[in-house]
């Protein structure tokens, strides 16, 4: 009975006019950034974080979540029509989606992508409803050692899945961790690492870092060689897939959904990983693998279903454990902290309206997305034609105003520019920004959990090994690190990542 009451509360919250409006804004912006190559969902969420100061917490989080799963829908449009992925999770959709468009089958490709996404998103939400609450109850029994080891495992998985240099990814994680230590130490009250700068007394804010790395950094990258985008001229007609298309896509959609569901929950996982893996699995189980890359509808259906399921279920560790599993949920975590809401097991008790409201808003958001993406496909096609030379100054302006408006300090703009340039250089030299941001967000929690654990154990690190959950997490993390750096596994990992990158 309590379960139905919770669902009712969720619908009641998400159907409030203000929340409906923010949900619509979120999915609309998500589709927009998914359609427009150059600024992904993380950048958009970073840019909008300061604006959420002025909005109610539930509405803000509903909007930020909408941006994420909305981008998954929108990303497929440019992948299919323009052969340029709007965001990383849509990269594999280019392979067969664009081939279908070139064969005059853009309509069915877009149709199956939207229906597959809707199905997977809905399954993801249902799964989330059943899993999140029990997981949050289990998480109440976790102590500082379990939390520390869980967060460490999440970071190691993220680093392990990095497609570039792993050693550089670890360095970025450590760098992010160190940045999170700047400012006042919450345990001793000491001011640390501020270099005699008053601006750093509150630490380096997440907003200049995220906006710099993912907003301004993207502009730097895109400014490098402007004007590369060209639209492949195709007519979009007949969005409803044929009976044969449905028959060919049904099982891939289900497989993609299941894979995406579990890969989304995995710390360090997320939509991009899910779409890559589901494409590889689909190709392997297919009776005609030679058709992949030449316009196989399975190559569109499965990854699109997978990335939507994963984008939904990646909220589970955040809402239930209070641990963001990837950089997108890290941005959501920052959004919650802005409103003095700490995600985690107690969220369900302290803010049930937010917890269930966000989950239920995803149902509504998915319906909105189907309406936005299918009948209005013509509009999105036109939007892909907006030249980047016009978008770049607008994005920069929004970033500047956004970052300035948080503290009304010009030093925040300097920080954002610094991190923007750093983001550009980092990408050029294979340093990934995602571990930096995730470690920055997890840093204070990890420090707190580690220090508390050591105090409890009287200075013995054994405390991390005698608790079963902590031990398992540490074993997984150690196993991944060892395999990543040792002969056979190192070779295999590199082979897999090369295939995925290609």
């Amino acid at each position: 009975m309590q379960f139905f009451n919770d669902i009712l509360l969720g619908f009641q919250t998400s159907l409030a006019p203000i929340n409906l409006l923010f949900c619509f804004i979120g999915v609309l912006l998500g589709t927009l950034v998914g359609v427009l190559p150059g600024l992904g969902p993380v950048g958009t969420m970073a840019i909008l974080l300061p604006i959420t100061f002025y909005a109610p917490p539930v509405a803000s989080i509903i909007m930020l979540a909408g941006i994420y799963y909305g981008a998954m829908y929108g990303g497929s449009t440019t992948s299919i029509l323009v052969n340029i992925p709007g965001e990383p999770a849509s990269i594999v959709t280019c392979l067969d989606g664009n081939q279908m468009a070139r064969q005059g089958r853009a309509g069915p490709a877009l149709g199956i992508s939207a229906f597959g996404s809707f199905f997977a998103g809905t399954v993801g939400i249902i799964g989330m409803m059943f899993i999140t609450k029990p997981l949050a109850i289990v998480a109440l029994t976790f102590g500082p050692p379990e939390y520390f080891s869980l967060m460490l495992m999440g970071l190691v998985i993220l680093v392990y899945l990095t497609q570039r240099s792993m050693i550089k990814a670890i360095s970025m994680g450590i760098f992010g961790f160190i940045l999170s230590l700047f400012g006042m130490d919450m345990m001793s009250g000491e001011i640390r690492y501020v270099f005699n700068r008053d601006e750093l007394l509150d630490g380096v804010g997440i907003i200049p870092i995220a906006m710099g790395l993912f907003g301004v950094g993207e502009i730097f990258i895109n400014m490098e060689i402007p004007g590369l985008r060209s639209l492949y001229k195709t007519h979009v007609k007949g969005l409803l897939p044929s009976l044969k298309d449905w028959k060919d896509s049904a099982l891939p959609i289900i497989r993609g959904t299941v894979l995406g569901f579990f890969l989304g929950v995995l710390p360090g996982g997320g939509a991009a990983l899910a779409s890559f893996v589901s494409y590889a699995v689909e190709k392997r189980v297919s009776k005609h693998p030679e058709k992949f890359g030449k316009g196989a509808i399975e190559g569109v259906a499965s990854p699109e279903a997978s990335n939507n399921a994963a984008s939904t279920t990646s909220f589970i560790p955040l809402l239930a454990l209070g641990i963001p599993g990837n950089v997108v949920t890290a941005m959501l975590f920052a959004g919650l902290l802005i409103h003095n809401i700490t995600p985690g097991p107690l969220l369900l008790r302290d803010h049930p309206d937010l917890f269930w409201g966000v989950i239920m808003s995803m149902y509504i958001g998915n319906v909105m997305l189907i309406v936005l993406n299918l009948p209005l496909i013509g509009m999105w096609v036109q939007i892909t034609k907006i030249p980047f030379r016009l978008l770049a100054p607008i994005i920069i302006l929004v970033c500047i105003i956004g970052v300035y408006n948080v503290n009304h300090m010009i030093s925040d703009i300097w920080l954002m520019i610094f991190f923007g340039m750093a983001g550009f250089i980092m990408r050029k030299f294979q340093y990934e920004p995602a571990p930096l941001v995730l470690a920055y967000i997890l840093g204070p929690m990890m420090e707190h959990a580690m220090v508390q654990s050591l105090i409890i154990s009287g200075g013995s690190f054994k405390i991390f090994l005698v608790r079963p959950i902590s031990l398992v997490c540490l074993m997984v993390a150690t196993f991944l690190l060892i395999t990543a750096f040792t002969g056979y596994f190192k070779l295999k990992r590199r082979e897999v990542l090369t295939v995925l990158e290609e």
């Binding site: 002025y54 240099s165 050693i167 550089k168 670890i170 360095s171 450590i174 760098f175 961790f177 160190i178 230590l181 130490d185 345990m187 001793s188 000491e190 640390r192 690492y193 301004v216 502009i219 730097f220 400014m223 490098e224 060689i225 402007p226 004007g227 980047f388 030379r389 016009l390 770049a392 100054p393 607008i394 920069i396 302006l397 929004v398 500047i400 105003i401 300035y404 408006n405 009304h408 010009i410 703009i413 300097w414 520019i417 923007g420 340039m421 550009f424 250089i425 050029k428 030299f429 340093y431 420090e447 580690m450 220090v451 050591l454 105090i455 009287g458 200075g459 013995s460 690190f461």
Partner: protein
């Protein structure tokens, strides 16, 4: 030569040394009662080790055939953008948002399309004034007005 790559590693090495020294000054404490510099100390050692490895790996590769990801050709626009942003930030407090943002928008538009400077100026004026209207007039965001107190 992987000069830029080596500079990045050197930056992280220097940064880790700085954090190491500052952590010791702050007090590392003990395992029983970690001090405020405890985790900074540990992390600086890790960062120093990893950055040194990256530095030496990059030096080893320096003689091999290597394509620099940053060339003069593809770096021109990012440098111009960075200079425009520096200029904007320096001028923001003095000239105020409306003037400095218009100049920044104009500069960015000219970097992308270095022709039709007057048209680009008009586009810049429109972008800034629309943004100003939405943010300052509708959303009541406070932006610097500068020494000329220019605002509408």
């Amino acid at each position: 030569m992987r000069v830029t790559s080596l500079i990045i590693s050197l930056f992280f090495i220097s940064f880790s040394i700085l954090i190491f020294i500052m952590s010791i000054e702050l007090g590392i404490g003990s395992f029983k009662l970690p001090g405020p510099g405890f985790l900074g100390f540990l992390n600086s050692i890790f960062l120093f080790t990893l950055s040194s490895i990256i530095f030496f790996l990059d030096r080893k590769k320096a003689d091999e055939a290597y394509e620099d990801p940053i060339t003069r050709k593809n770096l021109t626009n990012p440098i111009l953008l960075a200079l425009s942003l520096f200029g904007f930030t320096l001028l923001l407090d003095i000239l105020g948002f409306l003037i400095s943002a218009t100049l920044l928008m104009w500069a960015i538009l000219l970097i992308n399309t270095p022709k039709r400077w007057f048209r680009q100026l008009v586009v810049a004026l429109i972008i800034v004034n629309v943004a100003y209207f939405i943010l300052c007039k509708l959303l009541k965001v406070i932006l610097p007005s500068g020494i000329f107190r220019l605002q509408w």
